[in-house]
Symmetry: C2
């Protein structure tokens, strides 16, 4: 295992410590619940938004806490759902008069933890809503999922909900825009290599030197099939042929186009894929309104990429254009 | 070779096409010279800043073109200096009345191309200055270098020069702040894996499963030594012990601290390293004023990281705080 790590069991706490030290004044770290939170939260003038999931998908979600995005993120260990009490305690700590929105990628473990925490919070009089994100078209059910998985498309849901909450909207309105964005967002990914969770110390699966996993999950779950590694053109075709007809995205539609790196793929390759996808969408008469190229939802150091499309209208464009200040800053 | 690529020879043009398509209206691509330029350049009210180097180090430099940073970047092929005429033609195309600043990482091939281009531009009456960046403390001379190499610290020089130029400063003033920042910037990196240039199709070097290359160059050049893979704590100690005494950075100093990923290392590990480095600097009485964690200057998909320190004063802080709008946008 070739990683920058001390004790693998301290991987997540040491990462969270780094995030807090890198953002003094704006972020706080609460070690008891793996919680990274806005230093100025809770704010009773806005709905509180909390996202969970396992660690290992960074920047999702601990690096996207800040104005216009999340109020807090309380991940579990690498690829493990957060314990229910992390979510419950984070909810209590961050609760606002306007209510709490729990955003959850659709995996069985996460769903269970967040639903139980929501019930407990509600029983104590907190106003809570839970929204499940399921943008991955690769498979219907999966190793850790009933129904579709939530992957990099969760960023658009977070962004829309974060922007709406920042405007002071009620919980119902924030949920409405989140559900709307989730309903027009579709993703699929391809892995070129596996990844190694630090505490496991061994790759999650094996791929031959000339193989790729088509439709891979962000925890290394199998996708649609294993195949010989294709060219970049062939791979983009394969992804778009799965994504485009699914909603469907039609001629004349405007979309946001995300090319997300899974952790080990350099940004040069992501822009190469972006150029191909942009061109192939144009050939179908689908217009890219805005590009998102980089790492949004990763799988540790897995080499691979996913494509996400979001069908836009004026409301979604406005929400995606709203300002957001998060830990990741380039310059 | 596991990459998202079509014809390896088209790797750079296809990436540059993607960058331009992802940033319509703000960036332009001139295929003849591998040039990515601001769509609104040249601007006669500001010094023009152009950076080159080989490709394969993205986001450096083709993804940091924009207001407050570069006016253009004209890279060569992967790990190859740009041909002299790319620099010369880019200079002519982007020349402003205020002059042209050519920023160059100190490698023999790049130096030769930029110096020849500068001479030709000067002989035609253009006002040109050339500034060499050499922040890497690992080795004195190297495979491709006489003197120290330029690595991720080049971002701070670009940012300072970009901010100063945007204020309308004269060429001499822009050069002055660039030289000042370069003189207080020091870096060193460690590789855990090699990388594979697309056209070569094979790794540049080999590292055993339990080995790391201490002081690696961003083209896979040997560093100080090859050693058994250490813990994250040991690695940060090793890097700081090389960097801190070199300037030196002293108790009471304020610094910018960058943890730069070399391409294949996930951002979770970079924040883990950041936390350790921040704490170890605090133990030495060195205060981090601002953090930079992510990928700035990479080596394709190499797993590894570098640390950069910049000693600050009020002028440098102001320049680093100035706004910049570049292709890489998280949200």
């Amino acid at each position: 295992m070739k990683k920058f790590v001390n004790d693998p069991k301290q991987y997540v706490p040491e990462m969270l410590t780094g995030i807090a030290l890198a953002n003094p004044g704006t972020l706080k770290y609460v070690p008891e619940y793996n919680l990274i939170m806005r230093a100025d939260a809770p704010n009773n003038d806005k709905v509180t938004i909390i996202q969970g999931s396992g660690s290992g998908h960074e920047p999702a979600h601990v690096m996207v806490v800040g104005p216009g995005m999340l109020d807090g993120a309380c991940p579990g260990d690498v690829f493990a759902a957060p314990p229910m009490d992390y979510v419950y305690e984070s909810g209590k700590l961050l609760a606002s008069d306007k209510g709490i929105l729990l955003l959850v990628n659709n995996y069985t473990g996460d769903k269970m933890a967040f639903e139980m925490a929501a019930e407990m919070l509600e029983s104590e009089g907190y106003k809570v809503a839970t929204l499940f994100i399921n943008d991955d078209v690769a498979v219907k059910d999966s190793t850790f999922t009933v129904g579709r998985r939530g992957v990099a498309g969760n960023f658009f849901v977070m962004k829309a909900c974060g922007a709406k909450a920042e405007q002071g909207a009620d919980l119902e309105e924030v949920v409405r825009v989140g559900e709307k964005v989730n309903s027009v967002t579709r993703s699929m990914g391809i892995a070129l290599t596996p990844c190694t969770p630090p505490a496991k110390g061994e790759p999650l699966f094996h791929l031959a030197d000339d193989e790729m996993e088509v439709g891979v999950g962000i925890h290394g779950e199998p996708g649609r099939r294993r195949d010989k590694l294709g060219s970049a053109d062939e791979i983009v075709d394969e992804l778009l042929e799965a994504i485009v007809p699914d909603l469907p995205y039609n001629e004349g539609d405007e979309v946001a186009l995300m090319v997300n790196g899974l952790g080990g793929t350099p940004i040069s390759e992501l822009y190469l894929l972006y150029g191909i996808a942009h061109r192939k969408l144009a050939e179908r008469g689908i217009k890219v309104w805005r590009s998102y190229v980089g790492e949004y939802c990763t799988s540790l150091e897995m080499a691979g990429a996913s494509i996400t499309l979001v069908k836009l209208d004026d409301e979604i464009k406005e929400l995606l254009s709203a300002p957001a200040e998060i830990a990741i800053r380039v310059f």
